[in-house]
Each structure stands twice: as C-alpha cells, then as structure tokens.
Symmetry: C2
DNA sequence: TTTCAACACGCAAACGTTTTCGAGACCTTT
DNA sequence: AAAGGTCTCGAAAACGTTTGCGTGTTGAAA
C-alpha cells in the first residue's frame, strides 16, 4: 500500500534537495552525472511519475479536453468521441466527458464545473434544450474567459468560435437527387421539427434537390416528427404516422429519412404493407450507423465520418490552445459520402 | 478576455487578505457580516469559482473517476458509460475516459498517465490484448499504490478488487432453456473463442441448459468465431461460415448468438435461405442493443442493463474512496433479463 | 483605569512541481 | 596568494486553495 512517490521523498531519502532531484530527472546539465544516475535509478525503483495535478497548477494548463455531448448511447456521437479520444491521446491530451442529456441546465452546469480549471478547452455539441431556449450566455461567458470552444454538429451561427460541421445540405441534396436519378417521382421525407439545425438543413437539401431536378414536391409527403419519438418506446406512434402517410399516398416510391431510425422505420412500415424494397420503394437514411449496415435489406445512407469530425475538432482546439495567435475563427465543413446498399437501385 | 478570477484578485481589489476572502465565501463565522456581504457580492460579480486544480492539489483528491474501456462505438459500453457518467455526476464526480482499443499497451499507458494524480480511482473493462497476454502487472501496481479499481464485464479472477459483472452463465442458460421450452431440438451456438471470459461463460450456459433439460447437444452446432470477424467488413466470412453450418445441418431450429451481431447474422443468413422466423427457426441474442430492437423481425435477446452496471461500479468505487475502511472486496453479480420479441415463440 | 473576553481579520504552512538565482567548493590563471 | 571561472547544488518563489493559530481592536466588567 505504498503511496505515490514524490520529489520530496526521493530528496530526503537521498540526502539532496528537491530541486536537485527535479533537475536530475529532467536531465539538466546542472547536476553531475554521478548524482543524476543515482537519482534516476532510485526514482525508477519507486516508479516515480510527476503528479499531474501539481503540474497543471504550475503550468496553468491541464492537458485535458472537455467534451460535452447530448448523449453517448448513440452511434454518431460515440464515433465522434472515438475520434476525439484517439487523436487527443496522440497529442498528449486526456478527455473529460460530460453528458447534457439534451438538457439546458445540465449543459450549463457541466460547462461551469469543467471550466473551473479542470480543462483547457471545450469540444461540444449543444443540447436540444439549449437550442430551444436560444440562451447561449454560458457559451459566451466561457469564450470571454479565454477558454476556447469548438462546436460540432449542432450549429449556432451567432456564436463566434471554431466549428466543425457536416455539409448536411449537400449530403441530403445528393441523396435525394440520387433517388430521383433512380426513378423516384414521389419521395417522402421523414424529418424533425425545424429548431434542430441539422434537421432543418437536411430538409432544405431535400427541397433543393427537387427544385434542381425540376420535380414537383408535394408538401404532404413531408412528415415532421416530434423529437419525443426518439425515445425508445415511442416507435409505435412514429410508425403509425408513417403508415397513415402511406395509406394516403400510395404513389410514394422513395423515402428519405434524416436519421437512421426514421429511414428504417419507414422501410419497416412499407415492408409490412407489402412493398418490395428496393423494387417498389427505395430508401435512404442520413447517418451511417450500425443499423443501416445490419438492416434487411441493408440501408443506403449518408455517411458522416464521425471520427473525422472528432479529429478535426481536436486539431482546431489544440491549434488554438498551443498558439498564442488569436487568429480568425474557422468553420470546417466536412463532406458526406453516400454509401450504397440494398435499399436503393442506384446505378453507380 | 478577462481571465478567471482568483482569491488573490478579489482580496487585492477589496483590500483584505486572501484568507478573509476564502473564509467569507465559505460563510465562516469568523468574518463579519458586513465584510462577508461585500466579498460575496464582488465574487458573484466576477463569476468567481474556486480553481479545481488547486483544490485537488490541496485535498489530494480530484473528484474524478477514470474509465478505461476497450472501445466506445459499441452499444453495451456506451450504455455503461452513460450509467457511470450520470451517477458519478450525481455524486459530484467527473469522468475521464480513455480507450484501450483492445490493446494491452494502450491500456497500460492510459492507466499510467491517469494514475499520476489525475483521478481518484478506476473503473475498467480489460482489453482483449490484456486477456491474451495474461499480464496484469499494471493492475497490481495500481492497486498497490492504494488506488482503487473496479472491474466490470470482462473478469479477471486472480485479481482481488471490487467487480461488477453480469451473470452470463445464468443469462444464457435461461435463454437456451427458453428456446428448448419453445420446442427447439437443435440449437446452434455462435460464440467467440474461449479466452474472452464472457464468451466462455455464455457457452457454458448454453451447454448447461442442454444438460439440465436432458437434450442432446451436437458439438457440430457450435460455431466459434475469431474476433476479427467483429471488424466491420468481415461480416461476409462470418455469414458464409454460418451458411455452411446451415447447409450441413438443416435440422437446426434455433440459434443462440453470444452477441447481437452473431445472432442477427444467423437470422439474416437463415432468412435468405428461406427460413421463416420464428416459425422454422427461433433466434435469441445476448446484449439487448439497438440492433435487436430494430431488426426485422425484432430480436429476442438477453438484456444486460448496461446503465445499472455503470451505476453499481460507481457506487462501489465511491464507497471505497470515501470510507477509510478497507473492507473485503466484493463482486456484484447483476442478473440479466430475457426480452422477448418477434424472433421467438416463447409462450410467456 | 485596568483586565479580559469576544470579535474580526491576517500570517503562514501545506499540497507537488518547475525554475531562477545565488552560493559554496574547487580549480585555474596571473 | 589573490582573482576569476566552473561545477554542483540548494533556497525560494510561484501556481490557487484551505485552515490553524496568532494578533490587534473593541467593548464590557471589575
């Protein structure tokens, strides 16, 4: 049960001063070879490692990145975390994670606690609660205190800081254009309500695709789902609304869902109603997760490269942390990739 | 760009000493009401919050829990993290996350770095690399330094520390017994190689169910999959091995997979070969994740309650951190739950 | 007026580092 | 032998807290 060794203990044991030990371990030329050897040997014996907390206090930097995400049981976010953690580690940083659970209050609380010295900077995706409230004072305050923030995924245009986002508009536009190119004339959209930025942009992309391809778009084919439908057990009402739409509009021959669950639910409902996928109906989802891969038939989807998002975010944050220059803020827009699988008949 | 306020700044500004400010903010009776009011008001104005790092150094505790898991893009592990984070937060702790990526070296490295003062204790699930190496020196050393560890999921019997595990044996025994009860005579098992403890136990449960129910078990119906099959693109060889088994043994009328992907792959292969689920073939998987819920037909599976595991682990760790008593180590065994869905015909 | 408590506050140490600066010991040079 | 120069090391400050103890001021009691 021996506790961690400290400089003082080594110094006392060897009859030298603390500073001598410190210098010896850092290989300073100030200390004689003989002493250095003796000290390093003894330190190795005791498994000495400098105390991070003391270092953080002295250097006024923790080498830790704070990450706040709405939830972690979620393929996309855990992929981003994976990217963040891996790259941060390569750069010698640790990652402190906090969950907002989509709640404004928890987001504020977490930012407050972490900002009190625990971390050097934030990477975060704002909660839906925050987006609803439109209250960003906690973010402003943090930035004003000189702590850098990198936002990812969920955008807040009015906040000036580094951002890394996905080109939701282009991604969904291309997906819908691909559907049109594959012969779909009546494409249903299953989307969220507009206050979530990414849902809004994906809807815009859907609309734009129609405009550009000169296809009429029927507003009745847009299903706006309340977010509550995302909670596990609320799949039933979602599916019944989808079924309703199919009954009203049997002409539907394509589905674009702004996330995996919506697309998959659309596909399942259609299958149960007798539609053949992809012959009668083609389906594309946004976010390429484990569900798309393992669905039957497997789901064509728009891949977001979550790990790259994390990687980019870390890179932007560390650049700002380690350079004194307060350059202009950047917004990195990452392109998506359309992964084709069995739920569509794209020629390519 | 004002930096964080410190006690010293407040003291200087108000012409009092640092200790007066500190005591006033803590509501000490030593300080007069008048001064206390003045100080708290000014501190509020400056958004003063005590520096966590300084507190950690002084108190020799960081109020941070280190979590090391093999990977995070994984439904089970992210559920555990969710449980850990939520409960730790309630208790006033933060969570530092590190990923081993199933590598022994990364696990050792992460433990070493985090153990140097950054955290108060560990919650971890050991990597496959560590299990292969059978080298646990890093864990022993950490424990010897007086830093508590709670292991979860992946067991290491020879290490004495607190553990929280799932009753894999019972869970799979009951699942297989349910299959037998529902009329299955020839149940295939898709499992991992034996060095992973949980895979081994689930296999044992499968065997025991046969023994107890007096059903003959055919060793040819056990498919041992190399772990590489878990990497995304290696589903194809997995599926072809499953198909092979079906061709050789058309009598198969039940499948038990030790994880979601195995069970789902088994079901998909069977569906493609014309089997009707659950009429011709019933399927049960271990780990109740998003795949099971959204599969078509949805998959009956053994639910592990990942969040509870995280919760229990935090509870054990904090109990050890906050009580001086070094009581005996405990192993908490959590029971599983058989969640019935469309892939089986269990009467219950 | 002296004495003594109560009150209000400041000093200083401690947590474990790093780093600047100064100082003693020894050696070389004149 | 004195002066100067190298080596080798130690003292102390600093990072931001908390806290035990000392101290000065006040008021009241003797």
């Amino acid at each position: 049960m021996k506790k961690k060794a400290t400089l003082k203990e080594i110094a006392n044991e060897l009859g030298v001063s603390i500073s001598t030990v410190s210098k010896a371990l850092k290989g300073s030329t100030e200390i004689s070879e003989e002493t250095t050897e003796k000290i390093t040997a003894f330190a190795k014996l005791l498994h000495y490692r400098p105390n991070n907390i003391a270092l953080s206090l002295k250097n006024r930097r923790t080498k830790t990145i704070g990450v706040i995400i709405p939830e972690i049981v979620h393929h996309f976010f855990s992929e981003v975390i994976q990217g963040i953690e891996t790259f941060a580690n390569e750069k010698g940083y640790n990652v402190l994670i906090a969950l907002s659970n989509e709640s404004f209050d928890k987001e504020v609380f977490n930012i407050d606690t972490l900002a009190s010295g625990s971390i050097d900077g934030f990477i975060l995706s704002v909660s839906k609660g925050t987006l609803k409230n439109q209250d960003f004072h906690h973010l402003y305050e943090t930035i004003n205190q000189g702590m850098p923030i990198v936002l990812f995924d969920r955008q807040i245009p009015e906040i000036s800081c580094d951002k890394v986002i996905v080109d939701d508009f282009q991604g969904s536009r291309r997906a819908v254009e691909a559907l049109i190119g594959a012969g779909c004339k009546h494409i249903a959209l299953i989307t969220t309500e507009d206050y979530v930025d990414v849902g809004f942009k994906r809807t815009q992309g859907y609309l734009d695709a129609h405009t550009r391809q000169g296809i009429a778009q029927n507003p009745d084919l847009i299903l706006r789902v309340n977010d509550q439908f995302f909670s596990e057990d609320a799949l039933v009402p979602l599916q019944s609304r989808i079924k309703e739409m199919f009954l009203l509009h049997p002409e539907i021959d394509g589905i674009f869902g702004v996330n995996e669950v919506y697309a998959l639910s659309g596909m399942k409902v259609a299958q149960r109603m007798g539609y053949k996928i992809p012959d009668d109906l083609q389906v594309v989802g946004f976010t390429d997760g484990v569900l798309s891969k393992h669905a039957y038939p497997s789901l064509t989807s728009v891949k977001q490269h979550g790990q790259n998002i994390g990687r980019e975010a870390v890179q932007m944050l560390i650049r700002r942390l380690e350079s004194e220059s307060d350059g202009p803020f950047e917004t990195k827009v990452l392109q998506t990739e359309l992964v084709q699988r069995e739920s569509t008949r794209f020629e390519n």
